[in-house]
Amino acid sequence: MRRVLVVEDEVLVGMMIEEMLQDLGYELVALATHLDQALALARSESFDFALLDINLNGKQSFPVADVIRERGLPFLFATGYGDRILDAHYTGAPLLQKPFSLEELRRALKRAGL
């Protein structure tokens, strides 16, 4: 079973994503709701890929993506802002628009090869 790190500042949304991932056959490693926590988990935790909400209580999660990228692991962004929010370093990165359905998550993971 593939292990997923979820970074999402809304706990309820995070819980729903956990359910969706389980329905799709993935295992949640950890749910990070703050940037510091997400950075620590991104550096230390063992996972196959990450699902990253871009806006974490007003801070952007790109530093977390940097860490994950340095580790050579894949990730998928999720946001309610649209793709214009993407940092220039991440133009074209896989992006899922919130809110999303189970089917949309499945398709996004498939497109990203996850």
């Binding site: 949304v13 819980m15 729903m16 946001t79 802002y81 649209g82 929010i85 919130k98 359905s101």
Partner: protein, 449 residues
């Protein structure tokens, strides 16, 4: 020409040949020389005039300006030159000189020249007045304006605002400022724009520049956004004679728009987040109930979210019906055709139509034309006579049975949408396929009310 008997034929020929009126009087004002041009000027023949007294012919002129000039010359015995009104009311330039004990008078009719000069003076005055008015306007308006009279911008003039905008001294050489600026650089969408590619230069080469947004970055670090227009100046024959450019400082407006966009984006994010939370609560709460019910709820929520996204892209100013229809009918879209004019919906209409089309699409997928492979849906809309009309028609599906009880979707369409659009919405459960028609006042669809 006639002269007294002592004048010879040669004198007559000379006087008639000089091409200007001439006459001579003796010390008693008796006319004794009077040429052909004088006869033409005064309208009296030599036969009528020779031997008569000057003031007998023009008694009313003795005390006029011209009369005083002639009498003064007779008294002073000096050559007198000048311009005045003639004895017959024409403008003349004259030379009066002593001749014997009397006077010789040459004059030339300059009425046409004087009229031309007067017209020129009037035209010059009108032009000066117009120029002064234009200059006053140019100095008063909050728009920077530059003129050039050559393609290389060697000669450039600008108004007060032009020097203020580019932060140069009033007396600065604008040609140098625009061709070799040393205290600012110009950018378009983040890319440096060299002087020769800027609006006034391009207009001076014949190009018309409309509403070009440029950023001026000053050496001190300050930046201003300017909106520019420029056009070539051409002669009546179309020859390029220079160019004019105008620029308005839109920095504050631009900042305001950026700020507004930021607010809209933030608001949209919060709405999306709230919808995601509502979705999460529903998903977690309704975990153990029929998955179809959960899915129906989730799809409605996502349709609402999709409509919000379209509106956010347009700063909540409205959304295009075609985009709304496509976003709301994602499932089975390859079998749905859309036809209709480009129509912009006001935000509330966009959301209401998005939800209604989603319900129709969901019904078609579950029970109607889209539930079978060969089925299809045609969505057409049009506007005429101040009305908006949309027609949803399913074909090739299973035989339709009218529902015994109206579900939430049907009620949302027939009652909710009709109320929102202030029109009529009807679902016709025809055996061959569902037909839904919407007929509403256009004003309720695409204008803010």
């Amino acid at each position: 020409m006639a002269v007294e008997p002592q004048a010879g034929k040669l004198l007559t020929t000379i006087l008639d040949g000089i091409g200007q009126p001439f006459y001579a009087v003796d010390g008693n004002w008796r006319i004794y020389l009077y040429n052909r041009d004088a006869a033409q000027h005064f309208g009296r023949s030599a036969k009528q005039m020779i031997g008569t007294m000057l003031w007998e012919n023009f008694p009313q002129d003795i005390d006029t300006e011209r009369g005083r000039i002639i009498r003064g010359a007779m008294a002073s015995r000096e050559v007198v030159r000048g311009e005045t009104l003639s004895l017959v009311g024409r403008y003349i330039s004259y030379v009066i000189f002593p001749l014997g004990d009397g006077l010789g008078v040459f004059f030339r009719d300059i009425t046409d020249r004087r009229n031309a000069e007067r017209q020129r003076d009037e035209a010059e005055e009108a032009l000066r007045k117009r120029s002064a008015e234009l200059e006053a306007v140019l100095e008063t308006i909050p728009t920077a304006v530059w003129f050039t009279t050559d393609p290389e911008l060697r000669n450039v003039v600008g108004n007060r605002r032009a020097t203020e905008l580019l932060r140069t001294a009033r007396e600065a050489d604008l040609s140098s400022t625009l061709n070799h600026p040393d205290h600012f650089a110009v950018f378009r969408e983040g890319n440096a724009v060299p002087p020769e590619a800027r609006p006034l230069h391009r207009a001076a080469r014949g190009e018309i520049v409309n509403n070009e947004l440029l950023e001026v970055r000053f050496a001190g670090g300050d930046r201003r956004m300017i909106l520019m227009r420029a056009a070539p100046l051409r002669s009546n024959t179309g020859e390029l004679q220079g160019a004019v450019a105008a620029a308005a400082d839109v920095t504050e407006r631009h900042r305001h728009e950026d700020h507004l966009q930021l607010l809209v984006n933030e608001l949209n994010h919060r709405v999306k987040n709230t919808l995601a939370i509502v979705q999460s609560i529903a998903t977690l709460t309704l975990k153990d109930i029929d998955p179809a019910v959960r899915a129906a709820f989730e799809e409605r929520l996502l349709t609402l979210s999709g409509a919000h996204s379209l509106l956010t892209d347009e700063s909540w100013d409205g959304a295009h019906l075609a985009a709304v229809a496509r976003a709301s009918l994602r499932a089975g879209r390859d079998r749905i055709s859309f036809a209709g004019e480009d129509l912009r919906l006001r935000p509330k209409s966009a959301v209401a139509l998005a939800m209604a089309l989603h319900e129709l699409g969901t019904n078609a997928l579950k029970y109607g034309a889209l539930s079978v492979e060969q089925g299809s849906v045609a969505v057409r809309w049009s506007t005429s006579d101040g009305r908006f009309r949309l027609h949803w028609e399913e074909r090739g599906g299973p035989v339709v049975l009218a529902p015994v009880r109206r579900g939430f979707g049907s009620r949302m369409i027939e009652r909710g949408l009709a109320a929102e659009l202030r029109g009529e919405v009807r679902i016709d459960w025809r055996p061959e396929g569902v037909v839904c028609t919407i007929d509403a006042p256009l004003v309720a669809i695409h204008e803010r009310v």
